[in-house]
C-alpha cells in the first residue's frame, strides 16, 4: 500500500469515527420545568432594643421612676425568648446601687404598659435583670414576641446605700441577643 493510500485510509477512518460519535450523542431527551418559579424565603430572628445606651439612668425616686425604652421583634419569625444584657458604668458618685430592667407582664405573650408615673398599668411589674454597681450581667427572658411586637422596659437605678442622699450618674449599655434556640420550633407545611 502506497504512502498516499495509507493516508487516505486513515482520513476515512477518522471521518467514520466522527459520525459514530455523533450518532451516539443523538439520544432524545424529554424535559419538564415549571414555568412559574417556586418562591421560597427564609425567616429572620432579630430582637432589637430602641436604644443601646441609657445615659443617665433615672433613679427610682424620680417622678417617672426610671428611664424607658422598647424591645421589638423586627424579624419575621416569632421569638419565644431572648437574652437581655446590660453593662452598668458609674460616671460619677461612689455609693452603692442597683440597676433594674423591668417590664409589665400580663401573660407570657402579652405585655402591659407603663403610666407616666412609672406604674405598671396592666399586668405585674416583672424584673428581668438587675446589676449591682458597675457590672456586666445578662439573663434569659422568656416572653413570646410575634414579628413587630414590642415590650416597654423600665430602666431604673436604686440606691442601696442607707441614707445616701445624692444622685449618681450611671450609664447603662443594653444588648439583646437571639439565637436559633430562642425562635419558634420548626414546622412542616404542605403546599
Amino acid at each position: 500500500m502506497s504512502k498516499r493510500t495509507k493516508k487516505a485510509a486513515a482520513v476515512v477512518v477518522v471521518i467514520l469515527n466522527c459520525f459514530g460519535l455523533a450518532f451516539a450523542n443523538a439520544t432524545n431527551v424529554g424535559t419538564a420545568t415549571n414555568s412559574i418559579p417556586q418562591l421560597i424565603g427564609s425567616g429572620s430572628w432579630k430582637v432589637v432594643p430602641s436604644v443601646t445606651t441609657v445615659n443617665p439612668v433615672i433613679r427610682d425616686t424620680a417622678a417617672a421612676k426610671g428611664s424607658y425604652f422598647t424591645i421589638t421583634n423586627t424579624g419575621t419569625l416569632q421569638t419565644l425568648s431572648f437574652t437581655l444584657g446590660q453593662t452598668t458604668t458609674t460616671t460619677s458618685g461612689t455609693n452603692a446601687y442597683t440597676v433594674l430592667l423591668n417590664y409589665c407582664r400580663v401573660s407570657g405573650t402579652v405585655a402591659g404598659t407603663w403610666s407616666a408615673t412609672g406604674t405598671c398599668n396592666t399586668g405585674v411589674l416583672t424584673n428581668m435583670l438587675t446589676n449591682t454597681n458597675a457590672s456586666t450581667n445578662s439573663a434569659a427572658v422568656t416572653f413570646t414576641l410575634a414579628p413587630l411586637a414590642t415590650i416597654s422596659v423600665q430602666c431604673q437605678y436604686h440606691s442601696t446605700t442607707a441614707g445616701a442622699p445624692g444622685n449618681r450618674n450611671i450609664s447603662d449599655a443594653i444588648s439583646v441577643t437571639v439565637t436559633r434556640a430562642n425562635v419558634r420550633t420548626a414546622t412542616s407545611t404542605s403546599g
Binding site: T27, N28, V29, G30, T31, A32, T33, N34, I36, P37, Q38, L39, I40, G41, S42, G43, S44, W45, K46, V47, V48, P49, T52, T74, G75, T76, L77, S175, V176, T177, V178, T179, R180, V183, R184, T185, A186, T187, S188, T189, S190, G191
Partner: protein
C-alpha cells in the same frame, strides 16, 4: 476484404478479424435478447392494508398532585428545620423513557445562599409513590420508593451558578404514558445556628433570603430495540 483477412497468412491480422466478427455477432445477440425480455408482462403484489409505522413521543408533563399546589407552592419566613412538602405527577409521552434526572435553576436576580450553600442552603428529598400521593397529609397508600435525592443540598444541583450538576434521580425504564408520582420535601437545615445581637445579622447569614426555583426534570429515550413482526 473480409475474406482476404480471414484467409490471410498473417496470423495477427487473421486473429484480429476473427475476434472482431465474434464481438459484433455477440453484441447483436445481446441487443436482440434484451429487446425480447422487455416485452414481458410484470406481476405486482401489494398489501391492501397499509403497514402502520409510528414514531414515539418522548416528553414529560408535570402536574400538581391532587391536594397539592405542586411547584407553585410557596413558603416564606422558613426557620431552620422547617419543611415544605408538595407533590407532582410526571407523565411520560408515547415513548418509554429511561432514567429521571433533576436539577434546578434559581431565577432570582442573584442566587442566594438558599440555593448555593451546601451547609446552610435548602435541601430536598424526593420520594416516589406507586399511586398518587394523598395530599396534604403526604401519605402514600401504595408503595414508596426512595430516590437518590435524600436531604440533598440544592446547591449541588443548581446549574444557574455553574457549580451544580444534574442529579440522577432514579434509573430504569419508565413505561410510556404513565405517571410517576413524586413528593418533594424542601428543608432549611435544622443545624443552622446564628446569633443576632441588637438586630445585626452575622456575615454570611441565611436569614431573610429568597429563592425563585425552576425545577427541571429530564429523561432520555429507552434503549433502541429490534422487533420481529
Amino acid at each position: 476484404m473480409l475474406k482476404s483477412l480471414m484467409t490471410s497468412t498473417n496470423l495477427f491480422a487473421r486473429t484480429v478479424a476473427q475476434i472482431t466478427i465474434v464481438a459484433v455477432v455477440g453484441t447483436v445477440g445481446i441487443t436482440v435478447a434484451s429487446t425480447a425480455a422487455s416485452a414481458n408482462l410484470d406481476a405486482v403484489a401489494t398489501n391492501v392494508t397499509p403497514q402502520v409505522i409510528q414514531s414515539g413521543t418522548l416528553s414529560l408533563i408535570t402536574a400538581a398532585n391532587a391536594g397539592s399546589s405542586g411547584f407553585t407552592s410557596t413558603v416564606s419566613a422558613m426557620a431552620p428545620g422547617d419543611t415544605l412538602n408538595f407533590a407532582v405527577g410526571v407523565t411520560t409521552g408515547t415513548m418509554p423513557a429511561q432514567n429521571f434526572y433533576l436539577s434546578i435553576n434559581d431565577t432570582a436576580t442573584a442566587s442566594t445562599l438558599l440555593t448555593t450553600s451546601a451547609s446552610k442552603g435548602l435541601t430536598v428529598s424526593v420520594t416516589q409513590c406507586s399511586v398518587a400521593w394523598a395530599m396534604p397529609a403526604g401519605t402514600c397508600s401504595g408503595t414508596t420508593t426512595a430516590t437518590t435525592a435524600s436531604n440533598t443540598a440544592l446547591s449541588t444541583m443548581n446549574t444557574t451558578t455553574g457549580g451544580g450538576v444534574e442529579l440522577t434521580l432514579f434509573t430504569g425504564t419508565v413505561p410510556a404514558s404513565t405517571t410517576t408520582y413524586l413528593k418533594f420535601t424542601l428543608t432549611l437545615p435544622a443545624s443552622i445556628a446564628e446569633t443576632v445581637t441588637n438586630g445585626t445579622l452575622p456575615g454570611g447569614t441565611i436569614q431573610g433570603l429568597s429563592a425563585s426555583i425552576n425545577w427541571k426534570i429530564r429523561t432520555t429515550q429507552r434503549n433502541a430495540s429490534v422487533t420481529n413482526g
